[in-house]
């Protein structure tokens, strides 16, 4: 069982790093705004093309962490994995805003040993880096990667205790609280990269319900010098927000919708962003699902 989980984890990591690049990972809570003193949310978690339809692959739930409004560690319950989507519940018993997050960090890279290029094993963490590079290795090239997929749900009034940045990867800090979004109003979020304002970060916002419309309706934002970006919500509904650095993901060069996306399949292959000729790029990605209510 343990081994199977490990394999599943490795597969998930593989799909995240490679083949899933054309797809979108998401978590979809049953509610983001709740009243009462004892409530539940159930969350669908999947990797798919269309938002928010589970049609491709379930998202792993082993690594999902819940942070309660007071900063305590919560838990997911009733986790189950289906063919196309995973599902789990979170029991809300404290007033304020909860974070439900799937965060992973690691190192990737390569080195030369005995005239052969070797890759760092998957799952290499920064503190283990020294131990995985054998003596005699030359031309060591490494890059950090950090991915964060998180959602927020609020019981009662929104609170901000959980938004203390960890300083790793891309993080969202509310200017507008992510559980206080209303159609027709502007919302501003600050994005940090490793704890510092992610000035110039490209952010993509896509409304859910893709299946029933022709246009993607993508909203492209660029963070200002303070890492802040604003969006005025065109209609109520669920929105998928993504920001990615390196790796040619959505919004970036070579990514879906970005320059060079699916460029002429018969043409000579362009250098693949996943396997750059130079040193590996720093990779960081951020995903959240935001609910915008009608006024």
């Amino acid at each position: 069982m343990k081994a199977r989980f490990l394999i599943a984890g490795a597969l998930a990591a593989l799909s995240l790093a490679g083949t899933a690049q054309a797809h979108r990972q998401w978590m979809m809570p049953s509610s983001t705004t709740l009243s009462g003193t004892d409530s539940w949310v159930t969350v669908d978690a999947a990797v798919s093309n269309d938002l928010f339809y589970f049609e491709h692959f379930p998202m792993g739930t082993d690594n999902i962490a819940v942070t309660e409004p007071d900063g305590a560690t919560g838990k997911i319950e009733n986790a189950a994995k289906g063919r196309y989507r995973s599902t789990f519940d979170v029991h809300l018993t404290k007033p304020g805003t909860y974070r439900i997050a799937n965060v992973s960090t690691g190192m990737m890279g390569s080195y030369m040993l005995n005239g052969k290029q070797e890759r760092l094993p998957r799952g290499t963490t920064k503190d283990k880096l020294a131990s995985v590079i054998p003596a005699g290795a030359t031309n060591v090239q490494t890059a950090e990667m950090a991915s964060r997929n998180e959602i927020f749900v609020t019981l009662g009034a929104p609170s901000t205790t959980i938004f203390k940045p960890s300083g790793v990867g891309i993080e969202l800090v509310p200017v507008t609280h992510p559980n206080d979004l209303v159609s027709g109003e502007a919302a501003t979020f600050q994005f940090l990269l490793d704890g510092k304002p992610a000035s110039g970060l490209k952010i993509t916002v896509i409304p859910g319900g893709i299946r029933y419309r022709d246009a993607l309706g993508q909203i492209d934002l660029v963070a200002d010098k303070d890492g802040k970006a604003s969006v005025t919500w065109p209609q109520p509904g669920m929105y998928w927000l993504n920001a990615t650095l390196g790796g040619g993901r959505e919004g970036g060069p070579g990514g879906e919708g970005g320059p060079g996306a699916k460029a002429g399949e018969g043409a000579p292959p362009a250098p693949r962003p996943q396997a750059p000729a130079g040193p590996p790029q720093r990779r960081a990605s951020y995903i959240t699902t935001l609910e915008v209510l009608a006024p």
Binding site: S31, L34, G36, S39, G156, A157, L293
Partner: protein
């Protein structure tokens, strides 16, 4: 149900009376009449109704919320967020049951409720322009908000009227002493 509803209001009145010493002897009242339409639908539940006051630059004040306040384990509070404008403006900052604010759901027809300036949930009103909002949200039904602007202190004999079109009928605000 009806009796318990009265008991709750009586309890509230007592709380209000305790703090009434400071209120002027000729305290103004806001008399609110809310028509809850009788609907011919397969599954009818009485709506949750919230009544509150907004003033630009001031925190909104909840005056009343009619909901299933007497369900076991406070289960009726689960749907308060569906009265969503009120929930955002004021409801989410309250604890339930809220003294002087929580009340039972009401039947279709003209429902009346009065608030006294300087007392209870209305409290003292500074002179200025206000809006009284009435929002109704019905289980397996719709939602509607009606707004009644008024100025304070009110002109003698003033009545503000507005009407909903689906979940609320005629709503009126008049003033008394």
């Amino acid at each position: 149900m009806q009796i318990r509803h009265r008991l709750l209001l009586t309890g509230t009145a007592a709380i209000g009376a305790a703090g009434a010493a400071a209120a002027p002897a000729t305290a103004q009242t806001l008399n609110v009449s809310v028509n809850i339409p009788r609907l011919s639908v397969a599954e009818y539940h009485r709506p949750y109704v919230a009544i509150w006051v907004e003033k630009e630059g001031a925190a909104p004040r909840s005056l009343a919320v009619w909901y299933d306040y007497d369900k076991a384990k406070g289960e009726g509070t689960k749907w308060l967020r569906d009265v969503r404008q009120w929930w955002r403006a004021s409801g989410r900052a309250l604890n339930f049951p809220a003294d002087g604010v929580s009340g039972a759901t009401r039947a279709p027809g003209d429902q009346k409720i009065a608030f006294t300036a300087g007392k209870g949930p209305l409290g003292a009103l500074a002179p200025g322009n206000y809006t009284l909002l009435v929002e109704a949200a019905r289980e397996v039904g719709g939602r509607e908000v009606v707004r009644l602007p008024f100025s304070w202190p009110p002109k003698p004999g003033a009545t503000v009227r507005a009407s909903g079109s689906s979940e609320l009928g005629a709503v009126a605000l008049s003033f008394g002493k």
